[in-house]
């Protein structure tokens, strides 16, 4: 089986050889004056968009009943913060969703890395499992959410399971590809220096695949959140997904948007944590490479 058989560009790094980014010239650090200009423009865009929305809603250009209104979204948020939601305090909802997403993410990443490296290193396993993985990957995995709720009930575990499935494949394909793309020279060198197969995996294959794996982790925390929230749509007693579906049920567009704002904050915070983790783990790379600041 060639490596292309089960590779899916779910979350591939921008270039097939991640380290070759080194060659790409990066814009020099923006000068302070230019930087202030950029920030001013960003703020201006925010003001125009949100202000325009507010204005359109107030003047009746768009119907605030369907499209919401920024000021009411803010008051919905403060209402949730002060008085809690129908399902209990807001923090509890955030915590539950976060718990589901983080658990699903961690389990999915660990399983994905282990399976990806194992299949990437052991040709027999890759040959045997390739058709199964292709079939599983072709199923839109969101539909598994219904099965998981039937199996595991309305609690946390069904959402975790859905998040795991979503995260697993993204990480798996990257770990697999990363293990396949290891520099043959490095492997030969390590073997001659006395490395056993396990030592090659531990000291050469895994670190070298790490660039790929981390690239996939950026995407897959998003997948974990999707899994948790969609799972909550399908049936839950707590969580941000539940807030959204309740708001939807009561035609409360502001509630849907307010939940979206919270989810965005959570996702950005997680992205920041992953970036810190990445900088730690990939500290050996030339500086230009660990700068993930662009977007």
């Amino acid at each position: 089986m060639s490596s292309t058989d089960i590779s899916v560009p779910a979350a591939l790094p921008a270039t097939p050889e991640p380290r070759s980014e080194a060659a790409a010239p990066r814009a020099p650090r923006a000068r302070p004056r230019r930087r202030t200009g950029v920030i001013a423009l960003r703020v201006a865009i925010f003001v125009v968009l949100v202000g325009g929305w507010e204005l359109c809603a107030r003047t009746g250009v768009v119907d605030p009943f369907f499209f919401g209104e920024p000021s009411r979204i803010v008051s919905q948020l403060s209402n949730w913060v002060q008085h809690g939601t129908q399902a209990g305090s807001l923090w509890e909802q955030v915590f539950v969703t976060l718990e589901e997403a983080v658990l699903g993410f961690v389990i999915g990443v660990v399983l994905g890395v282990v399976c990806g490296i194992a299949l990437g290193r052991i040709q027999l396993l890759a040959d045997v499992f390739a058709p199964y993985i292709k079939v599983m990957n072709s199923i839109p995995r969101i539909v598994l959410g219904s099965i998981f709720i039937l199996w595991l009930g309305l609690g946390v575990s069904s959402k975790v399971a859905l998040a795991v499935v979503l995260v697993f494949f993204a990480v798996f394909f990257n770990a697999f590809q990363g293990a396949r793309e290891v520099d043959r020279n490095l492997v030969s060198a390590a073997r001659i220096l006395g490395a056993s197969r396990r030592q090659v995996t531990r000291h050469v294959v895994l670190p070298s695949a790490m660039t790929w794996i981390i690239a996939s982790m950026h995407v897959s925390f998003g997948f974990a959140l999707i899994g948790a929230i969609v799972g909550e749509f399908l049936g839950a007693q707590r969580g941000l997904g539940l807030l959204i579906s309740q708001s939807q049920g009561t035609f409360n567009a502001d509630g849907v948007f307010a939940a979206m704002v919270i989810i965005a904050i959570v996702a950005l915070a997680a992205e920041g944590l992953i970036a810190v983790f990445e900088r730690r783990l990939l500290a050996w790379r030339p500086p230009a490479l660990s700068a993930q600041d662009a977007l």
């Binding site: 060198a189 073997r191 001659i192 006395g194």
Partner: protein
Amino acid sequence: MHSGGETRSGREPAIELRGVSKRFRTPAGSIFTALADVDLTVEPGQFCAVVGPSGCGKSTTLTLVSGLEAASDGDVLVHGKPVTGIGDDVGFVFQSDALLPWKTVLENVAIGPRFRGVARDKAHDRARDWLRRVGLSQFEDRHPHQLSGGMRKRVALAQSLINEPAILLMDEPFSALDVQTRSIMSNELLGLWEQSRPSVIFVTHDLEEAIALSDRVVVMTAGPGTVKEVYDIDLPRPRQVPEIRFDPRFVELYEEIWDTLRDEVQRAYARTAAGAAA
């Protein structure tokens, strides 16, 4: 004083290839013969250079001796025993950097002993000793990408030599370096080699480098590679690589070997030129 070439009776050759061939299946499905019927002997402690046009199977010879690949035909013997896998006392310096970019210089040098089960502290002590010998003591905490090409080569040398290999295989190790760095590195290599005297096969396409370093120069034919001629280099040791090329004996040897090598280089070139025209 050591003079290469003469067979020391009663001792087994360190490396011996007898009628060795290596064929590869190309992606298109045809068979490509890299080596055909190669006979080659390297005595213990001998520095043997292999020169030949590019693509003549020089590097393939090294992979066979190291045990990374198996020969299609013939016998490959190391210390009289057939090579069945990667040997314990073989070192290999690759043409490209084979340092692990995610490990520091110290960890890279210590990794051979670590792989072989030496405790971390002890391995690091030995690695520091080797870094001192190659003059990189102050750089032990750096990562490979922070070093120059010459420094990386020194790390690679220390990484191989720390295992104290009886056989050292080198595949155009200095070809990526500039000319000055290269002659300095060649000199340092000889200094390190004198300390433990492993048997060396040094593959290069640079005849000057080959003569300056070695006791024996093997000229290979344009592919499929086979041994065309073997020359013993009777230049005295220790040698100073940057100066030795002015030695009249060096010039004599160079002319003699170049006569043989030139035909092969031209044949190889004609082949690639014909390939490009087709």
